[in-house]
Symmetry: none
Subunit: 216 residues, 4 copies
């Protein structure tokens, strides 16, 4: 009955822990309390099971990010809300990040992931370009900003083991996450200030090293 759900849960955990290849159907069957054959009955193929896990994650992510996007507040509030919501989602679904991180680096599911991410990225691009024409091109173009912020948010989780050694504290503890959020909010502020400035004076000189040239 709900064996399908239990298989999905077990697969999600194992894919996150050891990766798609190393997560064997046997292990998934064992952890879900199901029969190996039942996995194939419900999902046909390990790859399709993986796709189902992926789809479920992105549905949950969209649900988690939706409220932040729909907020009535200022752009800053919406961006910070978005970033915070993403951090919370990643913190609460550790396997998700690991799965995506591994597969986006080259696997059979890159396309599926890309298809899930595109609408999110596009929404972000729309948000920025509507507020700041300066983000339509140049060094602060919206896609660049979005990828960079996505990178800031996510890399913290990906490199948690390294960060832990570096700072001697647990990056994924509540305190660590709170600090990360504060850092990210500050980076959002930096970005918005720069965009604000650029809107008034389109081609600002770099603060110290005046000789840099701007291009499209």
């Amino acid at each position: 009955m709900d064996a399908k759900q239990r298989i999905l849960d077990a697969a999600d955990q194992l894919f996150g822990e050891v990766g798609l290849d190393a997560a064997t159907t046997r292990a998934i069957a064992d952890r879900s309390g199901a029969n190996k054959a039942l996995i194939h009955y419900h999902f046909t193929t390990k790859d399709e099971l993986f796709g189902a896990v992926l789809d479920r994650y992105y549905a949950q992510l969209a649900a988690a990010l939706g409220p932040a996007l729909a907020t009535e507040g200022s752009l800053r509030a919406r961006l910070v809300g978005l970033v915070d919501a993403y951090v919370d989602f990643l913190a609460g679904h550790r396997g998700f990040f690991r799965i995506v991180q591994r597969e986006i680096a080259g696997g059979r599911h890159v396309d599926r992931i890309a298809e899930h991410m595109l609408p999110l990225f596009r929404a972000g691009v729309a948000l920025l370009t509507q507020a700041y024409p300066a983000t339509r091109a140049g060094a602060l173009a919206a896609p660049s900003l979005l990828v960079s912020f996505y990178g800031m948010v996510a890399t913290y989780f990906g490199y948690a083991p390294v960060v832990a050694r570096l700072v001697g504290a647990e990056p994924l503890s509540p305190e660590g996450l709170a600090h990360h959020k504060r850092h990210l909010a500050r980076m959002v502020d930096l970005m918005l200030a720069a965009l604000e400035a650029e809107t008034q004076a389109p081609a600002p000189a770099p603060p110290r090293n005046g000789a840099r040239r701007r291009q499209t």
Copy 2:
């Protein structure tokens, strides 16, 4: 001797293309023109071979980043040089990024990677904290900044397939990379300006939404 190098090269390629698990000794043997048994003769274990590939990459990376760190110029010049060098290295060693991306997300080699990255991170932390006391703690603490910048640099490569669809251009083309470098330089400028400001007035109010509180 020769064969050992060819095995290392083939392994490096295959690990990058398909990952540690999916790269079989048979495939490595075939691509290197060596015998399967010879791989074990030279490297004992597939995991050790992987470690050797990793070590070689990080030695190359250190060599590539060294000049940028040793430069006599301004801090900005050194940071931008570092970022550019990293971008170039990642662009020139595509497999490296994929390997690290996959393994850092949870594998048997996380520790080895962490050990390689730590000195690089520590050097960056030293650089920043010496120049700006403000980076010793708070929302712009050096570790946070380094992870964020590492994330900006690297995510661009990891999410190239998504970026390609988003902007309809090839992110890894020379033009794409040049644009990415400009973007990153600009982000460095933003950061430095903020640190400069913070050094003069330690607790700045956020630009729009004045109600945020700072913590350590």
Copy 3:
């Protein structure tokens, strides 16, 4: 009722196409539009389903051969009619021949097939021995003749792919079948002439190589 027939039809087709082992219950269920479990409800076991297919075929074969045997004409007319009817049956039930061909070569159903064929062979033996005492033993003994004629009729179908390449024409086309029938009729004539001759002079010398000895 309806479903049972559809299962039988689908099974018959698939057994003919790919053989007993390779015809899976799933494939039979798919082709018949039925549920896998329903197959076992109606036939208990795949082997029993196979037996049912076999039984139906032999019932149809008996019906097809009956008229030829019951004919009032000459022995030759009855033999040729039998042969023609068999050719027509095989041509019209291609799966039947393939199934029998495969299973008679060693399978779990050899006995069942043998039981179906025995009465047919016995009828043939009776027909010949009553008409020609010479067929009671010797080189032209009835069982030998029957097996040989059965072989002539059937092998043409079994080796159709080879024959097609050999003669560059389609052996199972109407023309091919007509030619085959003519050939078989001629072989019947040869046999009957020999039996006729042997009845008048029991120990004929072989046409060229006179030194052969006859035995029982």
Copy 4:
């Protein structure tokens, strides 16, 4: 060293006994005293192993039939010699016939079998057409005769279980085989006599039932 041979032998036996599908790699490994993986090491695939068994059989068959074809004697002597040699080969390689019988009825190896048989059939056609122009077409055309004789020879083996019940004796005993050979020699004689007659008077009337029409 000779593990490859032992695998080939075991496979040959099992393919003959139970068929391609039912002969599992495990059973082949067990019978040959080899490891399951070793089978794939030497033959890559079960289908390729089957092809190797097939090729070996046909090489042996060609060797067994060669002397009979090369004989200096009369056409009759050569034909009878050929038939006898085939009977002996089939009797001595029981698995061969079963394998071919099953696969020719529709499998993945029909083409391979057909390719092996074609030269043999062509040699037979050449033999007959050179000796008797009458075999170039018509009811006694060479291909028809060859298929029929092949059918007579082979069906005896294929239907041995049925024949055993029919005559209450063992068809594959030395006595049974000797009798079969005598029967076949007699059939050869019948055919040759008919061809001889037809050569002198091209369009003979059928012995009893005068109304049959001849065609090409």
